[in-house]
């Protein structure tokens, strides 16, 4: 008895792959439908543009001081007012986007690369390699992250570079654990067993097959980690452990604005709003990516 699945004799049965849409295209379609994710992406792009074009948009230089114009409230001439050195806060907030985004991207890239590498090694090789790496992650995660960052900067010395290193280090276990669990499931897949069967080298299997198939959650985690990294960098600078004067880092600007709270509150409004909006943008984008790329992580 022959059973034909083709209901329409005019069109031939197509192989399933021809109709299949790439998971990335599927994810993009789902992402595009998510309004909050689009708003988040627009916010992020807005701040990236600001960071790139700051020298062209900013009405004055980062450290251009006009002592006669100290602590002026927001006006048409100085949109965000001026600080205690007569510097234009609007210009400094624009330039600050460069520093915050730079620290966010770079520290997350650092933790992503190292964390992914360690996670792959732990997940793929298992045994003692896994034990050592996973226990180290457990120990690092036993510290509240900002506390570990403070400890690292306390040892290395306060500076923006060391704050960036500290933030990169504290985020390594998050990426490492994520990729490890993904690798553990991917390595049971038939195509990996087949690759091993035909004698493919471990390094080739890892980087050609395991890694690309474990990337979705890493991209999601990476986006959300940038948000956290920006807040952590600002927090360290606020505590005097990150950016140094006269750097217009947003956290540092808030720290400088603290003594002026009664006198000139606008010095603290705008850097804070800038941090909040940027972080909100990355969080919304990250949430959208998570829903699109890995719906199981939604809750």
């Amino acid at each position: 008895m022959e059973v034909s699945l083709n209901k329409n004799p005019q069109t031939p049965n197509l192989p399933e792959e021809d109709n299949a849409v790439s998971p990335w295209i599927e994810a993009w379609r789902s992402f595009r439908r998510n309004k909050l994710a689009i708003i988040g992406t627009c916010i992020v792009l807005f701040f990236i543009m600001i960071a790139i074009f700051a020298p062209y948009i900013a009405p004055s230089g980062i450290n251009e001081q006009v002592m006669a114009k100290r602590l002026l409230p927001p006006s048409s001439e100085h949109w965000f007012g001026t600080d205690d050195f007569g510097r234009d806060i609007f210009s400094r907030v624009l330039y600050g986007a460069r520093i915050s985004l730079w620290v966010g991207f770079l520290s997350v890239m650092g933790s992503l690369v190292v964390g992914t590498l360690l996670g792959i090694l732990a997940g793929y090789y298992g045994r003692w390699v896994d034990t050592i790496i996973s226990r180290t992650f457990d120990i690092m995660l036993a510290f509240p992250s900002i506390l570990l960052a403070i400890a690292i900067v306390a040892v290395l010395g306060p500076s923006l570079r060391n704050a960036l290193i500290a933030i990169a280090i504290i985020n390594i276990p998050n990426f490492g654990r994520l990729i490890r669990s993904k690798v553990l499931s991917v390595k049971q897949e038939e195509y990996i067993i087949a690759a091993r069967g035909i004698g493919m080298k471990n390094s080739r299997i890892l980087f050609k097959h395991v890694l690309p198939n474990s990337m979705a959650p890493v991209i999601v985690q990476g986006t959300l980690a940038i948000a956290t990294a920006i807040i952590e960098a600002a927090a360290l600078s606020f505590l005097g452990l990150g950016a140094e004067a006269p750097n217009p880092e947003w956290g540092k600007m808030l720290s400088d604005a603290r003594p002026l709270l009664t006198q000139a509150p606008w010095t603290m409004f705008f850097p804070g709003i800038a941090i909040m909006l940027t972080v909100l943008g990355f969080n919304l984008m990250g949430d959208g990516l998570r829903d699109a790329l890995d719906p199981r992580m939604k809750n």
């Binding site: 909050l36 226990r135 180290t136 457990d138 120990i139 690092m140 036993a142 510290f143 509240p144 992250s145 900002i146 506390l147 403070i150 400890a151 306390a154 040892v155 290395l156 010395g157 948000a227 807040i231 600002a234 927090a235 606020f238 505590l239 005097g240 452990l241 956290g251 808030l254 604005a257 603290r258 709270l261 009664t262 509150p265 603290m268 850097p271 804070g272 941090i275 909040m276 909006l277 972080v279 909100l280 969080n283 919304l284 939604k298 809750n299």
Partner: protein, 334 residues
């Protein structure tokens, strides 16, 4: 349950040893001669040699570590370079202040977060739901040090409702018994001081509670929505049970596990956030203790402060893990 508890306790051993190792090597990782850096470039050679001996830096590292570890077992956290006092003696008032602040913050976060989440799920897609979730989104993205400054500006400077900083009224200090002032003032029957201490607690604890509150609200909502779609909830409603009981009794009980997970995690993280909040509100807690120690390069205090907070963090996570097993017998720990 007993075997799980034992296994969970045993798994703590490597973590705690690792913590002590990291904290131990912290001071040894300082580039250059730690004693010289602590004392500054103008210090005499004798002073540097004395401090090197005091810190045990002139011995092989494994001997230093075992001395340090055996000290920890007997409650010896070292001596502060700045105050020349045993850290174990001076740390409690700071720790008590942080615990009081964190406790108040987590109570606020749980009360408002869980209820906002429940009501949002109950009235899904209503105005309350939209507003609560937008606020939660903003709350998650809020730098608490900025929120703290804004609170000070609005409620302390402009409206003059609450004190700007500190833990008590300086003209009428609390006589410490437990160093947890809410308890101390009640023990002594000083209700005027109790109110004063409570007023000092409001701004910092609200600032500290914001992020956990937002996260708890989001998790509670999604967890409740999942449970409220279950058959047993439909049955309960079909039986004519009042919606309040359906939500608060039947749904909440079954939605509590993820909420509890996030509450446990956030309680631990509060300890990290406390450092920032305490700096803004001049709250004399562990954060302030560590922050001042960093400024004074008092490394033994930094080490011990970090170790104590990390230890509490680990213990909270252990407690939460054990609580799951007690609450939800379906969870299999293999």
């Amino acid at each position: 349950m007993v075997s799980y508890t034992v296994r969970r306790l045993l798994s703590l051993i490597p973590v705690l040893l690792g913590l002590s190792l990291i904290v131990f090597f912290m001071i040894r990782a300082i580039p250059g001669d730690p004693a010289q850096i602590i004392l500054g470039q103008l210090a005499t050679k004798e002073a540097v040699a004395e401090l090197t001996a005091q810190l045990g830096l002139d011995q092989p590292w494994y001997i230093q570590y075992f001395t340090y570890l055996s000290g920890l077992f007997t409650g010896d956290l070292g001596e502060s370079i700045k105050t020349k006092t045993a850290i174990s003696e001076e740390i409690w008032p700071y720790l008590a202040a942080t615990l009081e602040l964190s406790f108040c913050a987590i109570v606020i976060a749980i009360f408002f977060g869980v209820n906002a989440g429940i009501i949002s799920a109950w009235y899904q897609n209503s105005w309350f739901d939209y507003i609560a979730m937008v606020l939660a989104l903003i709350g998650v993205s809020m730098p608490i040090f900025w929120l703290g400054l804004m609170e000070q500006w609005i409620f302390a400077i402009n409206l003059d409702w609450l004190p700007t900083s500190g833990r008590e009224e300086v003209r009428d200090p609390v006589s410490a018994i437990t160093n947890i002032y809410l308890i101390d003032t009640l023990i002594q029957g000083r209700f005027d001081q109790f109110i004063e201490v409570s007023k000092h607690l409001i701004l910092p604890s609200v600032a500290l509670a914001t992020i956990p509150m937002a996260i708890i609200a989001r998790i509670t909502r999604s967890s409740m929505l999942e449970v409220m779609r279950s058959d047993f909830i439909r049955t309960a409603r079909a039986k004519g049970l009042r919606m309040f009981w359906v939500v608060y009794k039947h749904s909440l009980k079954n939605a509590v596990i993820p909420v509890l997970t996030v509450i446990g995690l956030q309680t631990g993280l509060l300890l990290g956030g406390a450092i920032l909040t305490e700096t803004i509100f001049s709250w004399p807690g562990m954060g302030r203790y560590i922050y001042d120690a960093i400024g004074a390069r008092d490394y033994p205090v930094i080490q011990s402060g970090i170790l104590v907070i990390a230890f509490i963090f680990v213990m909270i996570n252990l407690f939460v893990d054990l609580l799951y097993a007690a609450i939800d017998p379906r969870i299999k720990y293999n």
